[in-house]
Amino acid sequence: MKSTRVKLAVAVIIPILCLAIWVGSMAIDLHTGTEITIPAAGIDPRDPLAGHYLTYRPLYPPKLCEVGMSSLKPYYVCLWEENGRINGYSMGQKCPASKPADCQVVLQGNCRGSEFSADIERYYIPEESAPLLNSIMATSRRCSIVVSVNQKGKPKVKDLLIDGRSWREIYKR
């Protein structure tokens, strides 16, 4: 009976512990990673069962990927901000041992065809804010995302900027 109880306790603890480790590692990445602001275009509001979110296309520098690259393997690019624009070059499929001096961040992603993607094309918004935010986005201007990149190059979206300001500030006004 006691051993069954222990087994059940382990069965209950496993999912909670795994989720806690997952959340913890992402929170650490989000707060300790290097920030970079990437302009975005093609904002498209979505309203599926999963919640309200915006999809967009981060405007990476051109020609980061070569045609015919395997999309199953990770691909690394070096990015830096310069005068409100984003510059960069490809670093291939091997993670560099250390970040080159000219890179603000080394970003890990995949090449899908000739397009680079780092799976940061989604921003979740609260249900009650969705209609107003959608109308702001429809008339707006310059959008960008603030991304936090950890040492391994994995990115996390931190904020959505509209004309250089967080969407929350605009929403409050």
Binding site: T4, L8, A11, V12, P15, I16, L19, E127
Partner: protein, 391 residues
């Protein structure tokens, strides 16, 4: 057992001197009590599980609303507090041997894990497709599902796996193209789903403690197999099969694993195993049969419309034989209805234009009535014939 049938049987046994009147009354009273208690429990169990599912979906949609006023860290903390509270309740209920309550909390806990993943996705703005979220949830709640004492949690877990695998085949285009090659039909790729379920059903059936999972895997591998026969029929009838040898290799390996794992089922008769292997080979044969037609451009040499019919009718006969051997008369009847319907569809494929005329409709109506009568008359003979042949 049906009460009228029980009464009939008991009266017959009493007439034959096998039972006394007192014994008959005692059996009837005992069965009535059992049925009343059992039915009550089933209703309660059904209601509890339905309520649990609705509650879980409610939690998921509440989280999906992503309330602006609540900061992410408060949402996450509350989520973990609820998860821990549910976990502790589960352990307590297990100790107190309250089976139904334990099952209900297990169900809500499992759905809450899925909702928690949804919350993490929202708070950290992740791009996690639904099938990956589902696979992650299934991995997390597997230990809790293994602790289940009734059938609902294992069934839900296996259905979840079936959905997740199907979505993976459809959504993970890069992975699938890497595994199967570019020009491969959905039939070839989706065939992986029943094969994986069959392999898992064979593996779990060899472990005594996993008998509820074995039953669920077996049931859903049959259902998925039946659906794949229909998919194979439709795709080949619509000439929609595109294949390459690279696509055949992984699916053949998977079929060999599923077939090979049948030997883990020690209690299963060898003939059942042989018929299952023939069925697996036949499902792969559709892929092989179609290949020379496409690749050597023989598409005008034979009527590919009927390739689907031939495939599904033979596959249904093999399934019917399996059900006869496994002693499942209702499933056997369902398969024979499917065979009859497929013959009817062949008629409409050939004489489709007849339906537009009055005479055509009369002939079609008579054919449907005739097929119905033929099916009713020969189904028992067919079952008997199959039983004798496979004995």
């Amino acid at each position: 057992m049906n009460e009228k049938r029980l009464m009939r049987m008991l009266s017959r046994w009493q007439e034959q001197g096998l039972l006394t009147a007192e014994q008959q009354s005692a059996i009837v009273a005992h069965e009535r009590d059992n049925v009343a208690v059992g039915r009550g429990r089933w209703v309660l169990y059904g209601l509890l599980m339905t309520g649990g599912c609705v509650l879980g979906i409610g939690i998921i949609s509440l989280i999906a609303a992503n309330w602006r006023a609540i900061p992410g860290w408060i949402k996450m903390t509350t989520d973990f507090a609820l998860l821990i509270a549910m976990g502790m309740t589960l352990i307590r209920l297990y100790d107190e041997k309250r089976e139904m309550a334990f099952e209900l909390v297990s169900l809500v806990f499992s759905l809450f894990c899925l909702a928690s993943i949804g919350l993490v996705v929202q708070v950290f703005h992740l791009h996690l497709p639904i099938h990956r979220a589902l696979l992650l949830t299934l991995a997390l709640v597997l230990p809790v599902s293994l602790a289940a004492r009734r059938w609902f949690m294992p069934q839900l877990w296996v259905v979840g796996l079936l959905v997740a695998l199907t979505l993976t085949v459809i959504e993970e285009k890069t992975l699938m193209n890497g595994l199967f090659g570019l020009r491969v039909s959905y039939y070839t790729k989706l065939l992986a789903v029943p094969l994986i379920l069959l392999a898992l059903s064979n593996v779990t059936s060899s472990i005594e403690k996993l008998h509820r999972f074995a039953w669920a895997f077996t049931l859903w591998s049959f259902i998925a197999g039946f659906v794949m026969i229909c998919v194979g029929d439709v795709t080949s009838s619509m000439k929609d099969i595109e294949l390459s040898m690279t696509g055949l290799i992984p699916i053949t390996i998977l079929a060999m694993i599923a077939g090979g794992s049948l030997y883990l089922r020690r209690k299963l008769h060898d003939k059942v195993k042989v018929v299952t292997l023939i069925l697996l080979a036949w499902m792969l044969a559709l892929v092989l049969l179609y290949m020379p037609i496409r690749e050597r451009a023989f598409s005008f040499a034979i009527r590919t419309d009927f390739l689907g019919a031939m495939f599904s009718i033979v596959a249904f006969f093999l399934l019917a034989a399996l059900f006869v051997m496994l002693g499942k008369p209702n499933c056997f009847n369902m398969i024979t209805i499917a065979i009859t319907l497929r013959f009817l569809i062949v008629y409409f494929q050939v004489f489709g234009s007849l339906i537009k005329t009055g005479v055509g409709l009369i002939v079609s109506g008579l054919l449907i009535i005739g097929l119905g009568i033929v099916w009713f008359k020969i189904r028992l003979k067919l079952a008997g014939w199959m039983e004798r042949m496979l004995a």
